[in-house]
Symmetry: C2
């Protein structure tokens, strides 16, 4: 018997709760109705790259070579996925990953939520899950590069824009 942790209910407290068919941590487990789909977060890396590519297609991202996506996932410090689970079926509806030096800094990349599941607080819940995972690994400096349209989303999660004038900078090949 495996117990799952409850995340991000009223208190943000983490307590053991119900089981699901798959690994991961259950959102709002105290209000579960077995007939309804459940939302589950996971840090497992055994992700179907084609399913991930379909998710990225749905938000309009340019396709990337799966060989490089596989390598990037292997060498990410944290991989977070969000699933809609009903009975024995599950569907990938969100993803994020972070690079890190395992000691001081982490940088979050490739945050994606299925458009059909947006505007329901699930992106926020997934990011809180990612932050809690990085914090439990004693990473204190969590960074990211935000597109203009999601800056406010990250600010609501507690991310600070250009703190003390620190600026995000990019170098691209010619």
């Amino acid at each position: 018997m495996v117990f799952w942790k409850k995340l991000f209910s009223n208190s943000d407290a983490v307590t053991t709760s119900e089981t699901t068919e798959f690994g991961g941590e259950l959102l709002n487990s105290e209000n579960q109705d077995a007939s309804q789909p459940q939302i589950v977060f996971s840090t497992e890396r055994d992700i179907d790259f084609y399913e991930l590519e379909e998710l990225c297609d749905r938000v309009g991202w340019a396709r990337r070579p799966l060989r490089k996506v596989k390598k990037a996932i292997e060498h990410s410090f944290l991989v977070v996925s969000m699933w809609e689970v009903q009975g024995k079926k599950r569907r990938l509806i969100g993803f994020a990953r972070a690079t890190s030096d395992h000691a001081f800094n982490a940088t979050i990349w490739d945050v994606v939520v299925d458009p059909k599941f947006q505007s329901r607080g699930l992106g926020k819940a997934m990011m809180k899950y990612a932050i809690s995972q990085l914090r439990s690994a004693d990473i204190s400096n969590i960074t990211l590069f935000a597109d203009p349209q999601v800056v406010k989303f990250y600010q609501r999660l507690g991310f600070i824009l250009d703190p003390e004038g620190i600026k995000g900078m990019f170098w691209y090949p010619d």
Copy 2:
């Protein structure tokens, strides 16, 4: 017999050149005078943590637990050091490291140059060396977070501030 590569002379071309007592790549090797100290770049990770701490002290950085510094260096994708070498002696005068997913992104952290060696183009040469190392690993998105006083330094190296409105953001624990 080991041959060293010449970096960042007139053409930025890399050619084999002279030897030194230590590993690494020699700055401006065609103009070497054996009686003068040489500047050498290296990606070796066998760095004396106390020597690195002294270097960071010289630029006024807050001290960090050596245990965590060791872990961060072990889990960095790239570690770059700059040395003043004369005969059998060498002295650490610069350092930088990068986290990466080994595929798409790298983030450069902890860029430091000994104040006595600043304003001579050595920080620029060290960063060019770091960029060349990341490019040779096929990393195309090189990022960093720049303090306000070094934004222009990185711009001169080709780093772009907030491209397309992308913003660097930080999350810190309460």
